[in-house]
Symmetry: C2
Subunit: 621 residues, 2 copies
């Protein structure tokens, strides 16, 4: 048992090949160096996954991790992190999810789970109050997430069971299959569900009642109360419309990806907006553990064309844009249906929508034909075709079998220059943020260790002269706002600092939306753990994890050639009344060089030995 | 008038050649970027002093600066900083002083004074409540500091006048002349008194009654009260014996420089210890503005050989070791006398004592003879000879005229290999901390922009397994203690982080001794200014100022060849029951390379453009 408040001090080791579960107690310094979440993922991947290991090999690891503050009664602390070598990128795979599973893991007696090997038959892992066992899941294989959760809760007679699991897409190794928990929350990106599938691991069900004590309970409860008292002042739009509130604003700014990123303004935006969702189908607002924000949507659609049940929640902004504007679809019920299917089958909505948009552009340009699609007119704007393709991808049926590989691999199979329509970095599809509007984010797409990603990146428009973000940034010593299109060294610093902070959040594991500021999150960490942490130390943890993720990628063969954007972003959007401009390719290349040097990586993007030593990572030299 | 709490928002510009005083208002961002103290010095030197400018040229600048928290009613806030291009090193000159002058400057209506040019005749600067004027000082020229302060207070009929000034040593351009304030406090190092002398500037007298408001007065007063309530718990030894409490402990550890650093253990230590001073001559304890620690000594000696008046305070640790063990002198009254003379004449006690120790070793080795010394037997242990040499240096009489140039230049004039006895880095004499005991500090001597210096360095023995310092360091994310003799990359990081923090203190301008921790100093800065600063931002200010100082040195021609230690430190101490060992020269060279790379300097030790950009110093690229 660790002496650290906030943690259990125990990590569960699962060897599926051996059918063995054991407990490890890594000691206090380990926790303070890596915190949790992405920090643990980076640590175990670097320690245990050799160069060249196939993502679907039993030698790959998949890690589920909470963080120091997970399970605290403060909004934003109900999350967990999942990581593995990614079958989509071949590099650092990592994603976060909300809901109740993460806090339940913490209460079950373990801070994290490290899984290796491959089970001989479908298996699930059950953890209840410190006891872990591997159980047969043959009867669950092929089931949707809803069916599986119901079956498990019934057969274990435990309605409070929390289940993280894969659906059929993960079983079929769709490279962007996700890990679903609580039916509507997803560790969505980098194909982690397929890694579970490759290990014959259907689900991890957790239940626990042990709350590790806090070093300073009054600090924790004061912050929780402050958040509850101020949530409507600080986060009302997020409560009101969820992340879908972004649709109209981004569209107005010229930042709504449309027609597979051909342009960034969608005429049909108002039909798929947060306001429209609220007014036409919203039936509830889900929360994560202890969170007063309630940003998660619950929708119900009763026809005439689509029926969508509230069981699987409702679409977030990313999902709306991926299945909506990016596919040129203004049919919100169809989008809600696609969302439901993704959650039931265990598919990442971003990559699924983006891959369908890619296929639509291939179809419109004759690279795919009706013969390839089994007769489906896979054109932009065709909502039934989009919904049908979600089904086919999940089942790997027909063209779905090719699209299940992701845009990069699909483009290679389709040939005829299809690669130019594949909007990915390192094999991962770009999320629904326009890098020609937010050019620092574009650089972030290029440099993110997980491929194109919006969760450890810079959303430049908040840090312009008119943006609301600069005051917070001043606590990092950054005084000057910068245009969203800027790619100067000062912008590189902004990206660097902000991504470091995001990696702090991903290691803590804390929500990116809940409006606690740097100081409050530092206080929360101190209150839970009793460590005398500072924002400096937190930022150094972020730096450490970001650097470890990079080091993992370098060891897996990903380097500067993979730090590239799709060429489309070097041309302006095709249509619309926009200020959004092409990214200047040579400026981007210069900014990438600046980033390497600024953060202590050599010209090949490899962290220098002195950088590793500065971060206490001598063991990586 | 600035809108920033804690500052006046005004900097006084003085052109002595023109006889003009003007006011500049640099704006809020300037203050937040550079804070004050050493930060202002670095800024104005880089902006205004061209490469190759002679330190005694009218084109040199001398800057007197307070910081954001100066004048706050919290112990440790009663300091100021002085800086110029150093006549001793040819590079970044910077020193801090306690007492009452710094807070009085703040209350006088200005945050800092930037002085250029050369007055046609002896001049002093008088600032009273926002009004500044240059006044004739012909009648003060040649006077001791005590005489000058008395005359000014009398003729201006202002007993509360605070005077920073030079004595005869500064007038005569002794290269390690200091700036004395309040008669017993000194901006001691790097020869800043000589720069004042070269400008015919005898004194700066200040008086003011304007206290800039605090953003959060209750935060400030709470911290002040906390310190008063806890001072005897946290700093009783410092109250009891001042810094001289270090004598016995360092001697026991093998860290008391003895016989010009030939060895690090002094048999006579107990005769010059803090205990002996307290028991035989202590008559009082001076304080700085608002400080409850009272670490400063007041001594009185009534013979039989030496008379020492309490007017000039009493010797600190550095002074005791420099005139005592380093000269092999165990006569505490003689040391107290030397201290009095240094304060009356305006000499840096460290460089004065170290230069005399150097001369003693030259004498004992026949490089200096009785003919050179005018008959004085300048041998180790000869107390009257030591006191006599202080007089001669201040007056530049006889051999004193050579020794007034500092050990590096004196060694060149003496020739015959005298350089091997000159214990300096970049021309500045090593302070009284043994780098063979604290080897990280040895690396710090080599890398400090001011030459060998103990005020922005690492005192390794606090961070060993038995040392008390690690808990504080953990707030920076450094978890592991290291042996004092370690020079690994992990030690380089310790030095780097700690020196960054020291440069924060030097820019704030805050005392290095007063026991507020990182968090409290961050709180104090927030309470005074209202800025949402974090420890991250503070550390980045430290990084910025350290990097600017380096950049200034590079521009003045100081580079890797000047980042060297005296060769004596590569051999073990000659005598004593010590564990203190030789520094391994190649390990030191490797550690220096590691330091360059770890902090973003190129292999020539020049800050890389990306490093400058990261610190917001694009204007230096």
């Amino acid at each position: 048992m660790s002496g650290i408040s906030g943690f259990n001090g125990k990590i569960l080791r699962v060897d599926l090949s051996q059918g063995a579960v054991t407990t490890e107690e890594p000691g206090d310094d380990f926790y303070r160096m890596y915190f949790g979440g992405s920090g643990f993922v980076a640590y175990f991947l670097l320690k245990e996954v050799k160069s060249g290991t196939d993502a679907f090999s039993p030698d790959n690891r998949i890690i589920f991790a909470s963080g120091p503050i997970t399970g605290s009664p403060v909004g934003g602390c109900g999350r967990h992190d999942v990581g593995a070598k990614s079958p989509l990128t071949g590099g650092f795979g990592d994603a976060q999810s909300g809901g109740y599973w993460g806090s339940e893991l913490k209460f079950s007696g373990f801070d994290a789970i490290v899984i290796q090997g491959k089970a001989a038959r479908p298996t699930y892992l059950l953890i209840q109050d410190g006891k872990a066992e591997l159980k047969d899941a043959s009867h669950l294989w092929g089931k949707t997430t809803g069916e599986t959760q119901n079956l498990l809760r019934q057969e274990l007679n435990e309605p409070g069971l929390r289940v993280a699991q894969i659906g059929p897409a993960g079983e079929k190794l769709v490279r962007y299959a996700c890990v679903i928990n609580d039916l509507h929350d997803a560790a969505g990106r980098t194909g982690l569900g397929a890694v579970m599938g490759s290990k014959n691991l259907k689900a991890i069900a957790v239940r626990g009642h042990n709350h590790p004590p806090f070093a300073h309970p009054e600090t924790v409860s004061t912050l929780g109360r402050w958040l509850r008292d101020n949530v409507m002042l600080l986060a009302k739009p997020l409560y009101d419309m969820g992340t879908s509130r972004l649709v109209m604003g981004l569209n107005k700014s010229g930042g709504l990806p449309t027609r597979n990123f051909q342009t960034s303004f969608f005429e049909g935006a108002s039909k798929i907006s947060g306001e429209t969702m609220r007014n036409t189908m919203l039936t509830g607002r889900h929360s994560c553990y202890a969170c007063p924000v309630r940003c998660k949507r619950v929708v119900e659609v009763k026809g005439p064309v689509y029926q969508v049940s509230p069981e699987y929640g409702g679409p977030e902004y990313e999902t709306i844009a991926a299945f909506g504007s990016d596919c040129c679809i203004d049919d919100l019920p169809a989008i809600a249906k696609a969302n439901e299917l993704c959650n039931a089958y265990g598919l990442d909505t971003i990559s699924t929508g983006a891959t369908i948009a890619f296929a639509m552009e291939c179809f419109e340009n004759g690279l795919l034909t009706a013969q390839d699609t089994g007769g489906v007119e896979l054109r932009f704007g065709n909502a039934p075709a989009m919904v049908e393709m979600v089904e086919r991808i999940a089942q790997r049926r027909g063209l779905g079998n090719i699209l299940a590989e992701g845009t990069a691999r699909a483009a290679q199979k389709i040939g005829n220059g299809a690669e130019k329509f594949a909007m990915h970095v390192k094999g991962q599809e770009a999320p629904m943020h326009e890098p020609r509007l937010k050019q620092g984010l574009g650089l972030g797409y290029a440099l993110s260790p997980t491929g194109a990603d919006h969760c450890h990146n810079l959303h430049d428009i908040y840090y312009t002269a008119k943006g609301p973000g600069l005051e917070n940034f001043k606590a990092l010593g950054v005084m000057q706002p910068l245009p969203a299109s800027d790619l100067s060294p000062a912008k590189v610093r902004m990206l660097l600092y902000n991504s470091q902070w995001m990696w702090v959040l991903n290691s803590l594991v804390y929500c990116l939306f809940v409006p606690l500021n740097y100081e409050q999150i530092t206080e929360l960490t101190k209150g839970v753990t009793g460590w005398n942490v500072s924002l400096w130390e937190l930022m150094k943890v972020g730096d450490r994890v970001r650097t470890m993720a990079r080091e993992f990628n370098i060891r897996q063969g990903l380097g500067p050639p993979e730090d590239e954007l799709p060429h489309r972003f070097f041309t302006p959007p095709t249509t619309g009344p926009l200020n959004t401009t092409a990214i200047n390719e040579s400026k981007l290349a210069q900014a990438r060089k600046t980033y390497y040097a600024m953060t202590g990586w050599d010209e090949n993007g490899k962290p220098q030995p002195e950088k590793l030593a500065e971060l206490g990572l001598d063991w990586l030299v």
